[in-house]
Symmetry: C2
């Protein structure tokens, strides 16, 4: 990387269906200069998340869409290279939303300084900490409210969030069934993560296998997928079931309106609760999640994996791995080299 | 009515689509004799409720279906004619589920003795008290949790439950918008009940008129209807909206599976909550509702109306009034004469 150039991906057009590289424009600009009260950050890692598909569409959502011509929005970890800000020093590692680019100038708003702990890779702050861990933690515990002995079903269960949800469910004493898209993922969540059962939705009738693996019905469903999987689960929920709507990845690339679940009426007959969940509402409580997650990690009770793609130039091509289900763990783009500490 | 005959409607076959009189069999049996610990009740009024459509279908629900050959299930008010039970005397008025028939023998389980208050018609116990009032009261206040200044939308707003929901919403300081099926009902809920606005879904674009009448979006939706009306509302809900799923009358007569709401994803983006509600879960708290409802009635703050159909023989024909929306108020069948007290 030439340090005098700030490489960027800017949004060129609103994607229709799956994201194409041609939806972005590659720009090479001069590195900006921080003013008084500002810092210059060099991005090291860029997080690729399913939510990105929503950010580039015009539909009303929980956050304004990325404007055409704007640097693409993305969560990043970077190192402070220059500081004219009392709270930051050169060499500080920061987590923020500095976008798909090499460098960004920031006034510090929305940035979190990360601890320099040589025993943990920096990517943990995108894979387990950052927003992923709190999403699993608060979504499951605050919205899903699982009780020991209940049956928890998780969709996209080998994904960054889903794999943590299932493991937290096990810690809380639930029977945990994961729905995934490959046999490799089935094996990983069962053998390595300790799920009680796994269903490969591409090979098996989800409804039939859910019925087999959830003999006492379903009490909590943590849904990242929506669509037919949600429908199959709704057909098997127990009275007072809780459905945590954390994502609807099956719908993010649709180009026509699609109907909601045919079994929607189960919400009435089972007095169930379906509740949407956006982690941004929990920003002020992240520390609670980090304390439990850090302890569980240290105790060997939870595991996570990251899938690192090398090079900012590959970001647009990599993002569809999330929708095809070919990523293995939290998808991260390596933008530049880590400093040693 | 010949007092020696117990006329009955028994379920003959499971209805397909709308209920037909031919789905029931008319029987004339001898009046049963109560044994030790039992009472004989003569039914006076029979309540017809949309939930009946669910009771005669085989689909898994919150209550077992009425069996073929069984006396049709229905909520009734009757008078005790003979008692061999310590807790009941001849002449007592009782509310229970004694079915579509003239007479029933009961051991008293599930029966509530009603006060003999000459200032209130007996039908109040099916129209405002009984289960209708508590359904509106707990569904709105416990599940919907409206706050003063919020916008509440009610579907089937001139119905027995909906008309109370809207009036309770006004008492709690909400802006209340009702969706109904005739201009007469629009006028009634606005002019007589004090709703802020009314939409006739047969004449007007629900979505367009909701947008007009809910300039600040929708915070609480009390839904008795489901289907397209729910979909229109979901497109306009605010962050943290609450959707009380109390009924889905638009779906009760369907013969093919129908999709859920196209705007289901609003539950995620708006972090909304959709929760099913069945009044049977609140049986032990009815007194709370009756106290407030009775006080509001006495203070003139709430009104209700009943639509009384004369004669048990007309029950099967009357029930579709609920699904056609041609009833004006709580639909009740008069089975026999009231005693005077």
């Amino acid at each position: 990387m030439d340090s005098k150039v700030n490489r960027q991906w800017r949004l060129a057009t609103r994607p229709v269906g799956f994201i194409n590289e041609s939806d972005f424009e590659w720009r090479e600009e001069t590195v900006p200069t921080p003013g008084e009260g500002e810092i210059l950050v060099r991005n090291i890692f860029l997080s690729l998340d399913p939510a990105i598909r929503g950010w580039v569409s015009e539909v009303k959502s929980y956050i304004p869409p990325v404007a055409i011509g704007e640097v693409m929005r993305g969560i990043t970890i970077g190192v402070v290279e220059q500081s004219h800000h009392a709270d930051f020093q050169a060499g500080d590692i920061v987590l923020g939303i500095l976008g798909w680019q090499d460098y960004a100038v920031s006034n510090g708003a929305g940035l979190t300084r990360l601890p320099k702990d040589p025993s943990l890779p920096l990517t943990v702050h995108l894979g387990l900490f950052g927003i992923i861990g709190p999403t699993a933690y608060f979504g499951l515990l605050d919205v899903g409210k699982p009780k020991a002995g209940e049956t928890l079903v998780v969709s996209a269960a080998a994904g960054a969030v889903g794999s943590l949800v299932g493991q937290i469910g096990k810690i809380k004493g639930c029977r945990v069934v994961g729905i995934v898209g490959t046999d490799e993922k089935c094996n990983w969540i069962k053998e390595t993560l300790g799920f009680d059962a796994a269903i490969n939705y591409r090979d098996e009738s989800v409804r039939k296998h859910l019925r087999k693996h959830c003999p006492d019905g379903i009490d909590v469903f943590f849904d990242n997928v929506g669509g037919e999987i949600l429908d199959a689960v709704l057909g098997l929920i127990n009275v007072r079931a809780r459905i945590v709507i954390c994502g609807m990845i099956s719908l993010y690339n649709i180009t026509e309106p699609v109907p909601g679940p045919y079994n929607f009426s189960s919400i009435l007959t089972q007095r169930a609760r379906a509740e949407g969940f956006i982690i941004l509402d929990y920003m002020n409580r992240f520390q609670e999640a980090y304390e439990d997650l850090g302890r569980w990690l240290a105790e060997g009770k939870i595991q996570y994996r990251v899938d690192v793609v090398d090079g900012l130039e590959n970001a647009p091509g990599a993002i569809n791995k999330l929708f095809e289900g070919t990523n293995k763990g939290k998808l991260i783009v390596k933008v530049s080299e880590e400093p040693s500490f």
